[in-house]
């Protein structure tokens, strides 16, 4: 049986300052990250070091001593939030990482919370700018000028699953899933064939099948191996090809289907030979065809459309869910939605103009062009392509659709508001978040798999948490209740 799936996403946001001729992206990103106006956004170190320790059944480890690194830059760049998330500057972009989540609706919830947190930061930072200037933030992946920035998904997997197996079986899924995950884009880039509109934002920037790089010659499968967890047990699969999505339903389908496919791969369920002859070419061909009917050549000589590829994975998933009654309850409804979406795509993709980002955007653009006698090279169309992804609820074209009841939702606003404050209860993010709330002034540094306390006298005490499925409310609630101070906590863990 596959290991419990722990998932998280990282979103690099696009950033600009309106009416600022000397716009400095790094300075603005730093200002933004430091403007999240809550007393809970603390000055902490992001702990870049990693070490190996002994394991406690509740998911802790104690370390002996800790070297003090240069702190100032670190604290300016990194914010760790009491909901377990990380808000930081990465390559001149503000970036938001969700905490570790056990299910797709939590990932969705925390991603949406991230948008709200970015928006609050924007409002706070704007107050410090000269009049007439305003920060604008986009949750997208392209500036239409040859530069791309990422949306990354992280999936916890069993180390024993051979990486080559993951590569072979996941590649065709990643190449074709964009038919229901793409965020849509006007035009094409990076030397690919011209189209007026395509399905994915990121696709044109992918040039190889497999590799370590994330910024040039981007690979469909990224080989980064930094588990932030017990590396004998776990692999963190780092998926860099996805688009950032505005639609809740699209994110739900994107992450949920990928979770199921990875679990099927681990359990040896993907027995069909779906290897593509030329995955990078196929990726571009799928993105450049909004009918989703382009026939992709496989290594075995067959040709299949991206819908047919996804129908294969979907059928396997139906069998998998039926055979694994102990798998997540969410999977059954997700598989059903997946099937319905594929049927719609097969009949006419435009039927999904309330659910799938690229269709929703295309729906707006074509109706706009029809009513305003406009065309694909109208700058207003390029502006709409961008403004769809604006995170301001009153300016974003996505949020305009949502407000008008034209976007299918998966969440309630209350659920998103809770996710801005509280960590998930069923992963180690719970321990991290609760420590940040309760012992904020004694925390010296934080990482995904450790928390360090400064107890006043003696060396920094570092607690290691290499097990992402531990440190949950069930595991540590009682311990936290018993510990009035950080010193108590450390003593109680050591005892």
């Amino acid at each position: 049986m596959a290991v419990p799936m722990i998932v998280g996403s990282e979103t690099e946001y696009g950033l600009t300052v309106h009416n600022d001729p000397d716009f400095d992206s790094i300075a603005t990103a730093l200002l933004l990250v430091n403007s999240y106006t809550t007393e809970q956004a603390l000055k902490l170190l992001w702990d870049y070091d990693q070490e190996d320790p002994l394991v406690d059944a509740r998911g802790f480890e104690i370390d002996e001593e800790y070297e003090v690194p240069d702190q100032q830059d670190n604290m300016a760049i990194n914010k760790v939030l009491p909901n377990g998330a990380r808000f930081y500057v990465d390559h001149a972009h503000p970036e938001f990482s969700t905490p570790e989540c056990s299910n797709v609706l939590d990932v969705l919830r925390y991603e949406k919370a991230g948008e709200r947190i970015l928006n609050l930061s924007r409002i706070g930072a704007n107050q410090l700018l000269p009049p007439g200037r305003t920060i604008i933030i986009y949750k997208n992946n392209s500036d239409q000028k040859g530069n791309s920035y990422g949306y990354h998904e992280n999936y916890l997997m069993d180390r024993r699953t051979p990486f080559q197996t993951i590569v072979e079986q996941l590649l065709p899924f990643l190449v074709t899933r964009q038919i229901f995950c793409g965020a849509g884009k006007v035009g094409s880039e990076n030397g690919t064939e011209y189209v007026p509109y395509q399905i994915s934002q990121r696709g044109d920037f992918f040039e190889t099948e497999i590799g370590l790089d994330t910024m040039v010659k981007r690979p469909i499968i990224n080989t980064r191996d930094e588990p932030h967890a017990d590396r004998d047990r776990y692999r963190r699969l780092h998926v860099i090809i996805g688009d950032a999505n505005m639609s809740e339903y699209t994110t739900y389908l994107k992450v949920g289907t990928t979770m199921i496919v990875l679990q099927m791969i681990e359990d040896g369920y993907v027995v069909e030979d779906l290897e593509l002859r030329n995955p990078v070419r196929a990726l571009h061909d799928v993105s450049h065809d909004p009918t989703c009917k382009v026939r992709l050549p496989l290594k075995n000589g067959k040709k299949m459309t991206p819908i047919e590829f996804q129908q294969c994975f979907h059928q396997l998933a139906q069998r998998y869910v039926a055979a694994h009654s102990d798998c997540q309850a969410l999977y059954a409804s997700l598989v059903q939605e997946w099937g319905t979406v594929l049927d719609c795509l097969d009949r006419d993709p435009m039927e999904l103009h309330r659910e799938i980002d690229w269709v929703m955007k295309l729906h707006l653009l074509t109706n706009y062009m029809e009513r305003r006698s406009s065309s694909w090279d109208d700058p207003r169309i390029a502006m709409m392509d961008l403004q769809y992804h604006d995170i301001r609820p009153d300016r974003s074209l996505y949020y305009l659709l949502e407000r008008s009841g034209a976007a299918r939702r998966m969440l309630l606003d209350d659920e998103i508001a809770l996710a801005m404050e509280d960590p998930p209860e069923d992963t180690r993010a719970y321990f991290r978040g609760q420590c940040l709330k309760k012992f904020k002034h004694q925390i010296f540094g934080v990482n995904w798999d450790s928390i360090s306390f400064n107890l006043g006298d003696g060396p920094i005490k570092r607690i290691l948490m290499e097990e992402p499925t531990r440190g949950t409310k069930r595991h540590v609630h009682e311990l936290l209740e018993r510990s009035a101070t950080a010193a108590d906590l450390v003593a109680n863990i050591t005892a």
Binding site: V195, H353, T366, N367, A382, L386, R395
Partner: protein, 84 residues
């Protein structure tokens, strides 16, 4: 060249290209796609179609209200550093 590659059944793509040629022709819009797949009387069809058209008209009007002014310059000035 692009139209030849695409199947004539692909109403989506035809719709896109017709928009590129200007709004004069009768474009098969998304509201048509919705209503044609359900079984309704002719008058219901017109009524529902009208309502969807009105809703879309309102949406497009709102877009014009919130869209950044001077779109050409805004888009030209939007340049990002490459990220991961």
């Amino acid at each position: 060249m692009i139209m030849e590659r695409m199947d004539a059944r692909a109403r989506t793509w035809v719709g896109i290209v017709r928009c590129a040629e200007g709004g004069q022709q009768q474009v098969r819009s998304t509201s048509d796609t919705q209503t044609s797949s359900t079984e309704t009387t002719a008058s219901n069809l017109t009524e529902k179609g009208e309502k969807l058209k009105d809703e879309m008209d309102a949406l497009i009007d709102e877009i014009d209200e919130v869209l950044e002014e001077n779109a050409e310059e805004f888009v030209k000035n939007y340049v990002q550093r490459g990220g991961e």
